[in-house]
Symmetry: C2
Subunit: 273 residues, 2 copies
Amino acid sequence: MDPRPIGIFDSGMGGLTVLHECLITLPHEDYVYLGDAARLPYGPRPLDEIRRFAVEIAGYLERQGVKLVVAACNSATAAALPDLQRILTVPVLGVLAPEAHAAVLATRNRRIGLLATDATVASGRYAELVHALDAGAEVVSVACPRLVPLIEGDDPFGEETAAAVRAYATPLKEAGVDTVILGCTHYPLIRPILQRVFGRGVTLVFSAEETAREVAETLARKGIENEHGREGRCTFLTTGDPETFREMGRRFLQLPIARVERVAIAALEAAAA
Amino acid sequence: MDPRPIGIFDSGMGGLTVLHECLITLPHEDYVYLGDAARLPYGPRPLDEIRRFAVEIAGYLERQGVKLVVAACNSATAAALPDLQRILTVPVLGVLAPEAHAAVLATRNRRIGLLATDATVASGRYAELVHALDAGAEVVSVACPRLVPLIEGDDPFGEETAAAVRAYATPLKEAGVDTVILGCTHYPLIRPILQRVFGRGVTLVFSAEETAREVAETLARKGIENEHGREGRCTFLTTGDPETFREMGRRFLQLPIARVERVAIAALEAAAA
């Protein structure tokens, strides 16, 4: 029995899709969620800078006493997962490997599309992970720099978002992919739009549910689960505006968030020092 | 080739879940959606009154020249489907039968829960449909009069909604059901809350995707599909406030709705006369 919370972080609200699936699978665990809204978006930043941010945040969460960290941000996972795993003493899980696995299982024609941030596409990690599982599968990648700012913006479900999704989807449709990896935890937040643009014939692969399963298995195998039957608590932290966080968490994941605490960037930097 | 639109109606926004799935399956069709917000909720009304409303609306849609009508409202389907099918000359589909079928397929312990409106529970139609497919399956029904008003209210994702869902779920959890029919097209609009309350072990059954499949098959078999490859149009009608409709359609289904027309109740009554 281990009462320590699970730490989950993202550049913004996208990681809430992972928290939501964890709450379905592991309602008896406590969680600390940190969204680095002040430095959002991560996607257009150099991999080195994303790595530095991820190391700071994961270190901060470890000092808060978490028993496991989920890098619920594809850009951070692509840039920093091995470093985080070397630096931290608690287990660190990312969101790329579960999704690559699901995509290889789902595809019938072995043509897989990837929608992700510039950083994630530039890292080449998805293609590596897919090819490690099926060397003959083809990965067609499209960087979508406009999506995260639109999703975290004032009008996430407007015509501009729909038009951006249609534009990013076009090369994947032309390439005849039958499976698309949503390679950013923000993208499931506009899942209805993505589903309508891709239609019934294309399987959309999300990391959140697979990642929750991996969290559950890690806790069980390492014997660090909390007591079953209890109701877990969530603590929400942001480097941005707490009220915006509350409002967006409610809008996107229907989470009745009572309280959000602000964390200063300086506090994160101190954790990495 | 048949360019006429498909008509879909509901007491409010719930039927948009069916429209959304139709747009994924049949993006080349045109749609006319009518939400009877002025008389929402249907659930607490006598079956006779719901039947009258459904006959009015379906008749109105037929006069608008639709080629098929979907009663995308479980209360209306439970109260009026046979009448609608007798009165209209175009095919009429409901949302109960596809869901009962999906629930019988999904259950492992043959204990099926039902969350629905008073009217739908009182009609007893779900139990009949389930028992027609598996006479040995058990159906545990819970009427949820608070959910539709909460979902169409000012704070659909607040603590009050979560508390109501927990209360309605309790008898189903105590009965040990492994499958729950969401017997109202509004309920998928709070799917994340329902998923968290029921947890990973319970399968939630929604009618929308099954219904869309049935629409597609009906059009194909009767040879009344529209031309493939074109992009369909949606027309939105409401008996309530058009601006509220726009805002809610965007919030719940991420539909960038450009224009909503108001229909007077008198116009509906005239259609049934």
